[in-house]
Amino acid sequence: MMQFMLLFSRQGKLRLQKWYVPLSDKEKKKITRELVQTVLARKPKMCSFLEWRDLKVVYKRYASLYFCCAIEDQDNELITLEIIHRYVELLDKYFGSVCELDIIFNFEKAYFILDEFLLGGEAQETSKKNVLKAIEQADLLQESQSEDWGSLPNEEIL
């Protein structure tokens, strides 16, 4: 089971965090700090897996973003690497050539997509089509509902 997933930038800024095990905020911050440091210190050609505490860390860099998952001892490293890739594909398809800014400005969407794909640290739906269908359905719901508010959203400042 995946214990958590972190997305962070080359500058070490955390962009997304998903925890599948109960941990205190303090513990989460400590883990994040430690892992971001460890992963950023690694050189490009190094292997994507490392032992960390009693977990296995699987990470991969996409452009300016690092995707980093912690899995348990008996979990499969390679398939986790492809979990990361599939998630990137989902983001890419949804946003259309996803970049770091998309995830910053639409962080809630990144979480929604992740929830459709992984739940409780396990793969829920691995079909790209099905995950996106679920998200797009929700977007349709939003759009049909937003008509109720008339022109409100465009004018608001803070």
Binding site: C47, Q74, I79, G96, N106, L119, S127
Partner: protein
Amino acid sequence: MPAVSKGDGMRGLAVFISDIRNCKSKEAEIKRINKELANIRSKFKGDKALDGYSKKKYVCKLLFIFLLGHDIDFGHMEAVNLLSSNKYTEKQIGYLFISVLVNSNSELIRLINNAIKNDLSSRNPTFMCLALHCIANVGSREMAEAFASEIPRILVAGDTMDSVKQSAALCLLRLYKTSPDLVLMGEWTSRVVHLLNDQHMGVVTAAISLITCLSQKNPDEFKTCVSLAVSRLSRIVSSASTDLQDYTYYFVPAPWLSCKLLRLLQCYPPPEDGAVKGRLVECLETILNKAQEPPKSKKVQHSNAKNAILFEAISLIIHYDSEPNLLVRACNQLGQFLQHRETNLRYLALESMCTLASSEFSHEAVKTHIETVINALKTERDVSVRQRAADLLYAMCDRSNAKQIVAEMLSYLETADYSIREEMVLKVAILAEKYAVDYSWYVDTILNLIRIAGDYVSEEVWYRVIQIVINRDDVQGYAAKTVFEALQAPACHENMVKVGGYILGEFGNLIAGDPRSSPLVQFNLLHSKFHLCSVPTRALLLSAYIKFINLFPETKATIQEVLRCDSQIRNSDVELQQRAVEYLKLSSIASTDVLATVLEEMPPFPERESSILAKLKKKKGPGAVSVTELEDGKRESGELNGGGDRGQDAASTPSPSADLLGIRSSAPVSAAPASAGSLLVDVFSEAGPAAPSGAVNDDGFLRFVCKNNGVLFENQLLQIGIKSEYRQNLGRMYLFYGNKTSVQFASFTTTVNCPGELQSHILQSKPVEPLVEGGAQIQQVLNIECLTDFSDAPLLNIKFRYGGALQNLTLKLPVTINKFFQPTEMASQDFFQRWKQLSQPQQEAQKIFKANHGMDTEVIKAKLLGLGMALLDNVDPNPENYVCAGVIQTKSQQVGCLLRLEPNAQAQMYRLTLRCSKDSVSKRLCELLAQQF
């Protein structure tokens, strides 16, 4: 700002995020955030009721602020309000906030649970999924209490939408992990297992994680999943790459599901049903075959997905450990990966081979890759890969390649990363010990270890080399010579000084004949290091010096002078000062004889688990680097710490906690797993912290199986003698407690406990006098009755105060079942008739063992008579053998016993056979007797 804005963008949020990004400093960011928090707070508190959209926007901003790493202490209520909105988008943000910022505030939890309950029963699949995601994300106990019984129903209901089923399965998994007691599958079990057959691949993918977890905990209830999993796997493996449509990933059909199916099968032994097993083996073979096919795509995703399945299949093959053919194929496949250009594959191959190395079927096949692995250790650029290579070398090590592997690991240590040095040192130390054929190699290896990586050599490692040298006569001279040479180096590690000091202090005499290592040369060499060392090492060296005075009287004057100098006798460190003062005094007032007794060579250490191994286990946790296998190996070879011949009749009681000089005055009774830390401290302390109590001393116990009188126990303070007599099922034991000191023992009490079935066998024991004067002896009588047969001996606990310190020791009283024997004389014919009558397998106990003592006929006869049985002549056709008969008298019954002992002088072995009318008696007698000859 990105162009994309799907659904409804919240512009205010986007502006806020832009502001934060534009902040030039951390302070500016905090300022901006505080401004926003104040704004949101005032909106939430304002009189004007907020519309749903604004509420959503502000909650989302709070969430953003929290995810930036700031604390959020309000807004929960507004988020909860959003849950009951019937606008999907508001509900969604509400759930997201709750999922990320759970608050165990019970008032809120109730409200949240209410909202979830409404959504679960809404029959709107989108809402149901949101609610289930929230439960899965939070997974709290309260949620388990509220929903654990509801979700299984949703999961198996016929009319539940597929997407809801998927969420329900994983939601249940999460609740099961947090509160297994609340998730009761019971009636749902079979329907859940049958989700493996579901048409929808997504449902199977989600459900199998749940099934795997439940199977691990209740394998029997879920075992029908094995055949379902095999047939599902078989369908996937044999499908063409396009059959599964969107579940095909880069030309690999359903890689996630395949991995999970293979993982599920690892919860079970190989299928018993031949057809199922055949099908599974076919799948595994197909997977191995596919690895050899040319790739269908050059993309790394294709090869990763394919190899993920391959590695999972190999894990299953290793888990079964029963198909030699598959194991060897797996090993060959991994062998190819060892030289793959992808670092990831090399890493995983090394990791996976580690487990293959422990299988008897593939151990040899793994060994053929030794050169590649050594090369990886030397050339891999990534430390985590090198670490794997080192692990694999450790796993593949056996007697045939130990020297090569240890040498490679030693040379790697010189440049190894600091992060893995300590573990490497432990591994080298363990391998050197485990596979030492000659001990000089072992000593050389450990000393090299200290030379190369002294800083990483933990106490356990250097304690261990000392233990082994002490226990092995044949290596002591070599060890002394080698440490002497090692100490010549101008800069040697402090650990080397410690080992050197200890070993020369014990065995320096063995090399003193050579003028180049004469006593004075040895002393000067050690003392030249003294001033560079830390306090504990100096303390050790002082003890070595006093040992020198005993070993080499000619060094006495020099050493006394050293001890007498101010830097020692007035050292500001109490421990050093005390040692200097006491050693000086000891050397000047004690006679040669006393000195020789006090400073006698250390007794051998009792056999026990290597402390290094324990340390590695602690470091790596169970399951890592096949530690169990290692221990087995050790038991087989097991001579290293064996105590050898010396242990058996050593006059002094070997105590594992014995300090360096063996003169510690608090009772060295403890068989406690001596924290090796006490090895050197407390040499003269009168009262150890608290006298050990938990451990039982049974050193004397076995000596009394065949005799009734003698000294049961003796230390510096106390001597305990016993005299005992037995008739029928009754016995009387006289205990004599002698105070060896000139000081009174106060509050002297003794208690006898009978564990287990021995209860109330000891009928009477009068209390003893509470004061035992110096030099005096007191007596105590125990009356014993054997009610029924027994195995555990009674325990005698003795407590008293000596010089203010509480002494506490527990001894096993030598009351054994054979004490109640009545000898029975019988003729050859009768003997064999009875022997045949006692022919049920459990009535017989047999042991074949090595002779511990000389095989002198008279001695053996005397022991057998002492046992209490009748020794029958002319019964066994082979006159070398001994045959005995007797009846054990207990209050409740009589147990007839026959014994046959067959010595084999050539092999120095015995075979002992016992047949008794009661099974437990055969077993017990066999255990007791096997240690007597």
